[in-house]
Structures are given as C-alpha cells and as structure tokens.
Symmetry: C2
Subunit: 270 residues, 2 copies
Amino acid sequence: MPYIAKTITSPHNDEVKALARLVQYSRDRRKEGVMVLEGIHLADACLLAGGALPRVYLNEAAAGKEEVGDLLARLPDGCVVATLPESVMAKVTGLASAGELLALSPRPQPDTPPAQAPRVLLEDIQDPGNLGTILRSAAAAGVYDVFLSKGCVDVFSPKVLRAGMGAHFALRIHEHADLTAELGRFSGRKLVTHLEGSSSLYGHDLSGAVAFVFGNEGAGVSARLLAQADARIRIPMPGHAESLNVAMAATVCLFERVRQLETIASSGQG
Amino acid sequence: MPYIAKTITSPHNDEVKALARLVQYSRDRRKEGVMVLEGIHLADACLLAGGALPRVYLNEAAAGKEEVGDLLARLPDGCVVATLPESVMAKVTGLASAGELLALSPRPQPDTPPAQAPRVLLEDIQDPGNLGTILRSAAAAGVYDVFLSKGCVDVFSPKVLRAGMGAHFALRIHEHADLTAELGRFSGRKLVTHLEGSSSLYGHDLSGAVAFVFGNEGAGVSARLLAQADARIRIPMPGHAESLNVAMAATVCLFERVRQLETIASSGQG
C-alpha cells in the first residue's frame, strides 16, 4: 500500500473543518491553491491527466468498493487517504447524502499557449453549470486554451468540476486573466458573439487561429472587449426562442469550427 | 379588475395542499391535466402564446410589484388570483426562499404536425435541465414538434419549464408518444445520434423533412429505434472529452440544420 491510510471520526477534527471550508469557499481554495474533486470519476480523470491527489477523503461505505480500490492502487507514494464516517462526509459536502470520495489536487498553472492556438475567452461567467458545459464543449471540440476573467465563478469549484465531467484535465485553464491584454496580444481573429451581431456565425472562417469571446449571462460581453473584436457574430435563430444561453451558444460556435475543419480535411485541402 | 382576487393565509388550506402536490408530483399534474409555472417570465410567456392561467398564486411581497400588476391586468375574466404569505408560498415550493408567483395552466394538447415537419423525438430523457435545454434549442432552431416517450421526465414539471425558459410555449409538445409508431409514420429522414455512429453529422442533408432521435442519458437510443433509423450519426469530437451530454448534442444537431438552411438561402437555392 503505497499511500498513507488514516481514519478520522470526529466532525470537529481540524482537517475536516478545513476540508469543509475548501468545499464551500473559493477564497479558501484559491489561498491554498487547490481544487476539490468530488467522486471517483473526477479523481480518476485527474490522475490519468497526470495530476496529483495528495489528499483523498473516503466515505466509509465507499472504502470497500472495487473501483475505489483500483483508484487507490494507482495513487503515487506519499498520498494520504483518510476514511470518514458517512455523517462527517455529509457535513463536509453540505449534502444530505454524502459523496463517496473527495480529493484535493493542486490548481494547475498552465503555460502560455502557442501564439496561434485557438482559444476561448470568458468574461464574468457566473453560472457553474454554464461554465462547466463550456469547458466540456471546448475540450470535445479540441480548443484547449480557456482564459477566464477575474469576475468568473471559481472554475475549480466542485460544481464547475462536476459540470465539466473531466474537461478541466484536458484543457489549459488560465484563471484571473486580463482579457483585454490577452486579446491585444493575440494575432488571430477575435470573434464576439452578440445577439445583435452584424454577421452570421456561418459566414466566418473559424478554421485558423481564432479567439471566441463569451460574456456574462446577463450583461453580455463588455464594451471594452467588444471594441477589440474583429467581428460581432450572431447565431441565426429562425425560431421563436429569445436566445440560447451562453453555454449553448459556445457549443454551437465551437462545433461550427469542428465542422469547418472536418470539411477542409475531407475535401483534401487540409 | 377582471380577475377574482382572494387571500389565503393558512398553510393547512386545502387549495394550498393541492398546489403543493402539483408542484411536487408529476402524477398529480398529469391527473389534473395542468402544468405549474414558476415566476412572472414563464406566466407571461404562456399568456403571450395564448395559454390560459385560470389560477395564479402570488407571494404577498410580489403583489405590489409593477411587473406583476402588468401581468394581472392582462388576465382574462374569471381567473382567480390568490395572495399567500411568504411562509406558505415557501412551503408550497419546497424552497427556503419563496418564489414570487406560481400559476396553473392546462397542459396543451397539440395537433398532429404536418407530415413533412421536422421534429425531435426524445426517448427516456431523465434530467430536467437537459430536457429544458433541448426544448430551448428546438424552439430557437425552428423545429417545433417534439415527441416524448412515456419514460421521459415530466416535460411540464417546474424544473423543465424553468430550464426551457418559455420554449414550451413556442413548441408543439407531444407527450407519452409511441416513438416507434411515430418513426414508422414519418416519411422523412430518420437520424439517430450515436457515439459510434458510422457517418459524421456534417455529411448529412438536414434541410428537409428530418426527425432527430435522442436517447436516454445513460443508455442512449434503444435498439428498437436504432433499427428504424436511416442513419446513425456521430458528432465528430477532435478533442479529448468523453462525449457531449444529450442537450449539447441536440443543440449541435439542430444548429447544423440552421446552418444548412442559411447556406441554401444565401446561395439563392432556397
């Protein structure tokens, strides 16, 4: 057993209290430089991507499960695995039914992407589900660099990690980015989606170096970033709905890029 | 004041108890043939689409709001508007903070769509957020007929209505549909998304009469419906993610149809 096993029984244990704060408060997570992974799937995705899991917390009931055993067997030496009673785990997660597993992992510090790499810039995205979905779409579409303004919800919060379904570990996530400076540095096409955009998404070449900018759920993209855009693009909506939410809009844009790349490849020009 | 105003103060009032059951249980909603709309936005969307709101329940605090007054002024004669204390409203909604407004509306009974109308068939979709998002995408993309298998979560549940953001009122929603029979009757192209589909979404003509079939979040589309499909299509994913969820997949498919229609229109062939 390469990891260090321990048992915690008291809900008043200092480590338990600190863990509960990390689950709840982005400030604590940022201060400690960690993210909290909930569930075997996320912990596994983190390990597979080469991430570290220095601390793992297990619900007693989960400790005997085969898939948990498989995960623990792959932990590097020196990891600490603490087993907690269900009641304590429930208190930590703030949910009536305790999760099986929590794990702490260092927040990644990604390198600057290659100058021509396609990218997504997110300004003040507030909804964890939306943010996780955008990450998932970006990872699926092969756009690996995501820049987030300081006003975004914590991208490494448990909710965003859950919605991202492991996408976090496929991406280079650049937190607290100065989006104005990032756009200024970027030499590719800068596209902002806008309900009153002047040109259709489908009229743009998205196959090369492109930065997609998506804005806050209510306010949209700020005037400052809009002014830096090469184009304000609109997703045509022939139907009656008011609009797509930002996650759906991002998915449509990112997969229109996939389509263009596929079309180029299949026509032999790629 | 064309509507009938009343005040309810007791949480033990029979009407309050019945309302709480309608909020919570799909069985009760189906038995009564109603849906429960939460919030002014949904109630407004329902009215604008020609729907009826025979019963409206207002949180006391909301009764004085201008936008609520505007809504009430447009209610047809004979509607009953009951004002409830915040504590009673909170009990009804099952949430710590009471919503402003609940309204009951009859579940629509849509006509059979035109034979060539594009459509979405949903098999056993379980997540209310996914279902609402699919409806929103369909409405935005101008695909107005949605057929749901008996195994889908209640499409008129408060959660699905919330996620649909008013899309329900732009669509013809066919509940408890026999999807096998519907596909059998349909003479257009029948497309099923499948992770191991043999052809790319982007190689298909989606501009005409087309039925998109999307399956359960875990199990996918059943073998029976797969056997009826003209093609099993795959959304190409050049990236690392395992898959898109069903709502994102539906959004990508529906907007690929929008793109094709736009391209035809702009090239003068449409």
